[in-house]
């Protein structure tokens, strides 16, 4: 409440106009510059919990990861289960446990990247915390944002979570091998993705059968900076 006392300073209006995420955005730009300098592309993988981010990465590291050196930063609230699943002799992996935080922030990525040996790494996968809401607002400095939607979720999910799908460079429709048995309407899901995220490249795949992985790896190859 304004004070009525005669000595109180008058209330002034001050135009500020700065982003509430200014600190994160600044660090994200720093990450982007750092990745560019290291000649590596960074991917921010975002989805609901259980959409298949880790399984896709396992398959990717076992195939594509042998021809192109990759690294992984993986975020979860607790445990290093995912890091243990992803660790390969040819792949540095760092687990971030966020505790209660529902998303990764640029500062966490910067710290993790600094702790890894990124020599020779051309592609850095950042597996975000499973969450379709909060990660939408936090730029990590990635080259591309990849949003996964699995056929075990609803066809209407893109309509329900517009901010994250609108921010996607790529949308992956995952687990397509079980779409039919689940009665998942792929055509409807694809139409919804196209309506909400027309800017995004769409790849349909199954990490289990390998269907669509060639297209996924082909896309990854286009991201790898020429040396």
């Amino acid at each position: 409440m304004p004070s009525n006392s005669a000595t109180a300073a008058p209330i002034r209006s001050l135009d500020v106009k700065i982003s509430l995420l200014e600190a994160n955005d600044r660090l994200a730009e720093r990450n982007r510059a750092d990745f560019l300098r290291r000649r590596l592309a960074a991917l921010n993988l975002v989805s609901s919990p259980g959409a298949g981010k880790t399984t896709l990465l396992e398959r990717t590291l076992d195939g594509f990861g042998r021809e192109t050196k990759c690294a992984v930063i993986v975020g979860d609230l607790e445990t290093d289960c995912d890091a243990r699943r992803l660790r390969r002799p040819h792949t540095p992996v760092v687990q971030i446990t966020t505790g209660t935080a529902c998303h990764l922030e640029a500062a966490m990525v910067a710290r993790s990247a600094a702790s890894m040996d990124l020599t020779g790494v051309r592609l850095l996968f950042i597996e975000n915390v499973g969450n379709l809401v909060c990660p939408a607002s936090f730029d990590l400095g990635e080259t591309a944002r990849v949003v996964l939607l699995s056929v075990t979720e609803g066809e209407d999910k893109p309509l329900k979570y517009p901010p994250i799908f609108k921010s996607a460079h790529v949308v992956l429709l995952t687990k397509i091998d079980v779409a039919e048995i689940l009665g998942f309407d792929r055509a409807a899901a694809i139409a919804n993705i196209r309506r909400i995220a027309p800017q995004a490249k769409l790849i349909q795949l199954s990490a289990r059968t390998g269907e669509g992985l060639d297209e996924w790896c082909g896309f990854l190859r286009t991201l790898v900076p020429r040396t």
Partner: protein
């Protein structure tokens, strides 16, 4: 629920700006929030009520301006208002656009300080 973290940085930013101006108190905080910012105004208000105590913004009014989403059609060179379904259908050519001209704002717009 990332609104608590965003409110924490809002209060820190506001306090820093007020201090720069030699002000001791913040009476009003005006935020601009895009319809596609991914941030919920009610959750921000809830966080503000819980966190503003013992800061220079204690007792301040939190004003949240919502910025509607605006799509852009590059084919027609046309900016248009987006309906609540967030599907950016160009009203002229009917094509769906992926371009957003407005609606991601998440901004500390103005303060009233003394």
């Amino acid at each position: 629920m990332h609104e608590a973290g965003i409110m924490e940085s809002t209060l820190a930013l506001a306090a820093a700006k007020a201090r720069e101006q030699g002000a001791e108190r913040i009476h009003r905080i005006v935020l601009r929030l895009g319809a596609l910012s991914g941030v919920e105004p009610d959750a921000l208000r809830f966080a503000f009520d819980a966190m503003a105590k013992n800061t220079p913004a204690a007792g301040a009014v939190l004003e949240i301006e919502t910025v509607p989403a605006c799509g852009y059609c590059p084919d027609c060179d046309l900016e248009f208002a987006v309906k609540s379904d967030f599907i950016f259908t160009c009203p002229k050519c009917g094509r769906i656009s992926g371009e957003l001209n407005q609606g991601r704002e998440l901004e500390l717009a103005r303060l009233e300080i003394s």
